[in-house]
Symmetry: C2
Subunit: 876 residues, 2 copies
């Protein structure tokens, strides 16, 4: 017979069966408890039930897999031996915590049960052992409450009610004023509450308690908030959560006990300082939940200097061992330090960059590791605007600078309202006393989060940093009134849906909408990007329509322009009138007349862009949108247009109606315009080539790439390329300047990818327009998907919005077909991407993998693409 599968891993007594690299099996918490045990850190012993059990549990009709019960029994025996205690013992009972822990950290997502093992007999044992009757009964009543709530779903408020009744009866105000006898009485009342709601007595058998608790942890894996968290964070492919059963230690055993959460470096700035918070005489959950505001870790020297020194050593030991910043939890029980958890510390983008660069300096990691360590998507935080230092700040309060950034939004007092408002297109600020896992959706929808209680490691702070959201936490001077839907700060009152701004770098809360400025990048950032560029194999270009944008992108490291949308220039100033005149023209000569007016304007734009991109390639796309986009739809503007162009209003209306389309996305646009009205393409190519010749004559190195949009059939590119080459030849002959240029196409129609071999016979380059390609491959109108795509993601019909991250399975398949076929007829075909996906890390990795020459994205995403491209090259 095959050896029974190992379902439980023990740790304790100085060694463990697991290791840090077994996260997939033991979950992050379990793997690191094992690792810390192995490297000699003081970890309370225990055992971990593997993640596979969670999977088997759901697949097997919510039953324990074969062998689990036996292995648990063996491990409990082991634990009892190491601890020298026994489950349910009336002298020295073994008490345990039961905690979840998946392979990927999900802060606050999973439920925890503490003090498990207590019953009428064991509580006597605990009294005997601790010599503290009040502590023992308090532990017991907490256990009944937590077990009832977390494991059996008996709402916490039912227990609270009993507590309130008793306090009233005793005439006291605080829990701490209740005596041991009071708490003993409360345990009885709590058991009655349990019995009333669960319809059976509170389980006194510790093994039965453990069985139910394990099932509850496993059950929490499929709780709605856990599912939502995984969706928001694109966490897929996990087997489930592991279950950690660990001997209890108590931070609430009096004034030489305590608990805390630390980071080995500052997770907001990345500075190499010991960073953390603690609470004396408290249990761990009190710190994380953000209910009591804890003290900075440095102050521990005032309470327990030895423990503080020991923590400093552990901080250093952890970083040397893990070679990364650790976020760990500890508990001190009567001056003895215990490590309860360690994990890779979440950090802001700025901190991630600084830490990565610093650690290379400290020789903890090499440059490759440093480049791989920073999540490219997070750089977005650094590239977003900050508040303009010159803007007036009407500061009404200052809280903790919990997650950097500048956020302005309309005040919402509930996650639900925040989601509703955001769906309506509003920018919102979520304002809460504190946040809880139920608020995840609202936090994701908000520009930023503002809380009145809770510290730097509170739920709001940790989650906001993970999301890259601006957060000001623990702003105690604000009175947040849910009922009347208003915030009071002194004499200032801010009502629901009024504008408020928060500065996550200073902690300031300001009235109204404060102006922002472009970000400034640190030296560490430059260093890291330089390293990344060294590893990167593909180029990064930008999408830019103006000389200014081109310059910004170049400053961010863009190596050329992958997309200039000429039509964006059409709306500027008086140009729209020439465009409208062209559209209204009755015949070709009249159209040419109007186009003549546009020519010098377009030429001037191109000259500016060529200058900004001196020495780098510039891809210019010919007119793409349908012509009706340039015409006014309302009466007033139609009248103005008629008057200005000297035609009748009826004629304007007739033209608007004639150009109206049922599905403009699939209509008369792109090269279809150029094929039907060649004079438009001619004017644009003339402007491009004249600008190129003019600038080259002035010593600027120009590399124009003329891009024909929306090609779907071979003849389109043949006809338009022939026209472009002819015009280029004419211009160069006239100007007596020779410019190196190319004519290529966008591949954005599924058919173009399918017949790419025929298109590449003419096109000298391909640029995948993945926005349109995604629209047509999925049959999704980007303007209309709001009605179902969010629900699709919610119901896991789609994993991610395909307009955000490239759909590699479907759209990606077309891209691969397109590249393969294109290079079958033109071996050296240059291939790039110019959709929004060009700046999204997983999509950049795809582009690298399928052999593109470059990606192109908006200026602010250029660094993200550079880093993502480097990581793609390193991972390959």
């Amino acid at each position: 017979m095959a050896k029974a599968m190992k379902l439980v891993y023990f740790f304790g007594g100085g060694k463990a069966e697991g290791r840090a690299d077994m996260k997939a099996v033991l979950g992050g918490k379990g793997a690191n408890l094992a690792e810390m045990t192995n490297i000699g850190l003081p970890v309370p012993p225990g055992f971990t039930i593997v993640t596979e059990v969670c999977d088997l549990f759901y697949r097997g009709g919510k039953k324990w897999p074969t062998g689990l019960e036996k292995q648990i029994s063996e491990n409990i025996a082991k634990l009892e031996k190491v601890m020298g205690q026994k489950f349910g013992d009336d002298n020295d009972p073994l008490l345990v915590s039961v905690r979840s822990g998946a392979a990927v950290s999900m802060p606050g997502m999973m439920d925890t049960v503490l003090n498990l093992g207590l019953n009428e007999k064991a509580v006597q044992g605990l009294i005997a052992k601790s010599g503290n009757e009040r502590f023992a009964w308090d532990a017991y009543r907490r256990f009944i409450n937590m077990f009832g709530d977390v494991v059996m779903g008996v709402a916490h408020e039912h227990y609270e009610e009993q507590m309130t009744l008793l306090k009233k009866k005793r005439g006291v105000e605080l829990d701490t004023q209740l005596s041991a006898d009071d708490l003993k009485e409360l345990c009885k009342a709590y058991q009655e509450v349990y019995k009333k709601h669960v319809k059976s007595a509170f389980p006194s058998d510790p093994r039965k308690q453990l069985e139910l608790a394990i099932n509850a942890v496993i059950g929490s894996w499929q709780a709605p908030r856990a599912i939502k968290y995984r969706q928001l964070n694109h966490i897929t492919g996990l087997k489930g959560t592991a279950v950690n059963v660990q001997a209890m230690v108590y931070g609430n055993m009096g004034n030489t006990s305590g608990t805390g959460v630390c980071f080995t470096r500052d997770p907001a700035t990345g500075e190499n300082v010991f960073y953390g918070e603690f609470l004396m005489n408290a249990q761990g959950e009190d710190v994380v939940a953000g209910i009591r505001t804890p003290l900075p870790i440095a102050q521990l020297t005032e309470y327990l200097p030895k423990c503080h020194a020991e923590l400093l050593k552990i901080k250093s030991r952890l970083e040397k061992h893990y070679k990364d910043v650790q976020d760990f939890e500890f508990t001190i029980q009567e001056e003895t330090l215990y490590m309860l958890q360690t994990r890779t510390g979440k950090r802001t983008a700025a901190a991630a960059v600084k830490i990565a660069v610093d650690m290379v300096g400290e020789k903890l990691i090499d440059k490759k590791t440093a480049v791989l360590r920073v999540d490219p998507q997070m750089l977005d935080q650094l590239l977003h605007p900050t508040f303009d230092p010159k803007a007036q700040r009407d500061v009404i309060a200052t809280g903790l600078a919990a997650s950097p950034g500048a956020a302005s939004g309309k005040v919402c007092f509930s996650a639900a309202d925040a989601e509703v408002q955001a769906e309506m297109g509003e920018k919102v600020l979520l304002v809460r006393h504190e946040t809880s896992p139920e608020d995840i959706g609202g936090m994701a929808a908000a520009q930023g989060i503002l809380t009145s209680t809770g510290g730097m490691t509170s739920h709001a702070a940790v989650v906001a940093r993970g999301m890259g959201k601006t957060c000001v936490a623990g702003c105690g001077s604000l009175h947040i009134d849910y009922k009347n839907k208003q915030i009071t700060a002194g004499s200032t009152v801010v009502k629901e849906h009024e504008w408020l701004s928060i500065d996550g770098t200073t902690g300031q809360v300001m009235l109204g909408r404060v102006a922002t400025v472009e970000p400034k990048l640190s030296q560490d950032f430059e260093t890291l990007m330089k390293w990344a560029d060294g590893f990167r194999k593909i180029n990064v270009r930008t999408n830019a329509d103006t000389p200014h944008d081109a310059q910004v992108a170049r400053d961010f490291g863009a190596e050329g322009i992958g997309l200039t949308r000429t039509e964006h220039m059409f709306f500027e100033g008086d140009r729209i009138w020439a465009v409208r005149e062209m559209i209204m023209a009755d015949d070709e000569p009249a159209r040419r007349e109007a186009l003549k007016k546009l020519l010098p304007m377009q030429r001037k734009d191109f000259e500016g862009i060529f200058k900004a991109m001196d020495g780098l390639p510039v891809t210019i796309r010919l007119l793409d949108p349908p012509l009706h986009e340039f015409l006014p739809n309302d009466d007033k503007n139609q009248q103005e247009m008629a008057a200005r162009l000297g035609v009748s209003v009826d004629k304007v209306k007739a033209k608007v109606s004639q150009l109206h389309e049922m599905n403009p996305m699939l209509g008369f646009r792109g090269c279809r315009l150029g094929v039907v009205f060649p004079e438009i393409s001619e004017m644009q190519v003339q402007a491009i080539m004249e600008a190129a010749c003019n600038m080259q004559a002035k010593g600027v190195k120009v590399l124009p790439e003329i891009m024909i949009p929306l090609v779907g059939v071979r003849r389109e590119i043949e006809v338009q390329a022939a026209l472009a080459h002819q015009m280029a030849k004419d211009v160069m002959e006239k100007k007596k300047v020779k410019v190196k240029y190319m004519v290529g196409t966008m591949i954005e129609i599924p058919r173009a990818a399918l017949v790419a071999d025929t298109i590449a016979e003419t096109a000298e380059f391909f640029s995948f327009g993945t926005n349109d390609l995604t629209q047509m491959t999925f049959g999704y109108s980007r303007d209309d998907v709001g009605s179902f795509v969010p629900k699709y993601i919610e119901r896991e019909v789609l994993n991610r919005d395909p307009f955000q991250a490239l759909d590699q399975e479907g759209v990606g398949q077309l891209i691969e077909i397109g590249i393969k076929k294109g290079r079958s007829t033109r071996k050296k075909l240059k291939v790039g991407i110019c959709g929004e996906h060009g700046g999204e890390p997983s999509s950049v990795e795809f582009c690298h993998r399928v052999g593109m020459n470059y990606v192109s994205c908006s200026p602010f995403r250029v660094p993200i693409a550079r880093l993502a491209a480097a990581q793609a090259a390193l991972r390959k």
Copy 2:
């Protein structure tokens, strides 16, 4: 050295170098002149310049290819020898005709030059030989005129002017009243006209004349009307036109001469009768051009009985040899018969069917050949309605029944106007004295063609039959007044754009719009279709939404329903109110309440369809269109809706606005509705399965196939199929009936084809929805392509409208990927097509080739699909 390429083929003296099967090389006319020579028919000798020369000419900068001049010289020498005549001889000069002839017959498309070889000297020879001075000078002046017009582009009117002047001078009215001397004088005047416009003297050297004429014929290959004809008829892949140089014979040499055009059977009805027309003392072009109305061929017995008898023999000889109906031209020169051309006779669909079936009976051809002989597309003519015999007919005139059918339209007097009106969506009737090749576009745009002159073989008649258009020709009692834009028939006046109806089977012209009835199919048709079914490998289903349509299709031979659009039922009667109530519902319970009202209606529809399709599979597609299609857009109807549903008008308007989409084609529709509102799919599946159970209990054999529309990602079909199976199970358990059913999907989104392997894991069948697949693969909105697709076809950017004939290169590639991937995970996957393409012959052939199980098309196209499928199987 390689042997020089053979560019010229000789025929004459009883044998020829070419054969009938060399059409690609010699063109249709050249190949058949050779064939007729070889089988001993009286053909004037000559030679054919191969089509390759036309290609080489255009590719080589409009120059003759090497060796052509030499080979022409050799063949002229041969011709002079056979004829015993010499080019330019003053005793007996060789005169030739120069005619075009491509591999595919293009009636009237190419220019012809007659009497070539005449000059001042040769005209004397012609006088000497013919002894007819007037004839000789008349031939000469006709030649100068024709050569100037056709070869050098000197407009005919310039010559006409001289003729008119001379007639005035002589005080005569008719050409025939001019004397030999007058014509001699006219030759001089014509030469002056030539000189004035061409800026050089009329070429007297016959070799020079020939060279220029050959170039003109080759030049006519690229004339706009030739290009248009090829476009309209989807003629591609030809090298060009051949050039036929042939010794002249004269039908205009007096009263024992004549010329005519015959068909070996009646091309309108297919009856095995000798059919044709002739004109005494006329040249061939006079008959074809339809300027003089010719006499029926039977009357030739009255003029030249011997020739008539000889023609009867030739008719029989030709059919035995070619095994098909021939359309041939002859000329009688002083009682001697000459054959000038033969080709496969164009025929109406009815004739094609009758001829094919008759010829099998006559043992001329076998059944396979018969099935291959009828163009499936032509069957459309037989399946279209005819005038209702009970409808009142206000007949104003009767002409020749030139091409059968029933056509009603608004009268247009020019091809250009017909095209404009048709583009605006009007049904038009093209009314002309006679048509000419320039009218092709207008004829294609018209419902039918009516002419006042010209016979059964006139341009209008021949082209209309080829196009399958209704035509009444030679309706001499109509006075067609182009200038005042009206038709007068006795006292009746019909103005431009008034309605007129023509019956191509009776020749009647009727006022207004006469009602039509469904067609009746002949026994021959049934016979041919039965043979076709014997060869066919794939099934033919129909798209039908009602029991009536289902029955019609079944009568046409449909073997099941490939597509029932459930939403079409939603508009009927009071149902729309239940649908609107469902759309307006605020939540799921309210939606279910409204859906409950729809359930019995849908169930009843399905019962009717199952009954009509007893024993055959019925594919039912769940709701597909976006919901806004069911809401009213105008104020009045919105008010009615609000009142009826008891909600505020604002609420109705808000819903309309909420559901509005930028690109509805790519919006919230198809299975996206069912995924977001599962209760809609549930109701529909319940209705289908309840109907199936009910009918099966009544002894009807039901085979429902539930089709989930617009699937693009795997989870969509998983979710919807699970729902359908659950509902089917519930219904069958409740009804205690077991029904064999399937759940499958439409593949109509490019992504679905690309990930078909994952979809086929759940879907039990695929039906390619090629309408939407074409829209998304091309990025063409079917509603909006009018702005560019016609121009694309005109400019040959597209060969055909991809919504009419499946684009095999692009869309077809996706279909092939979809089938291959689908069958990789489900080997026996049933695959069909249910777009408009399912009834288009080239698309049906594609479906056969890629291994589909069936095609589905509209009821009236079922026979077309059956025949096309049979031909596909036979050709493979």
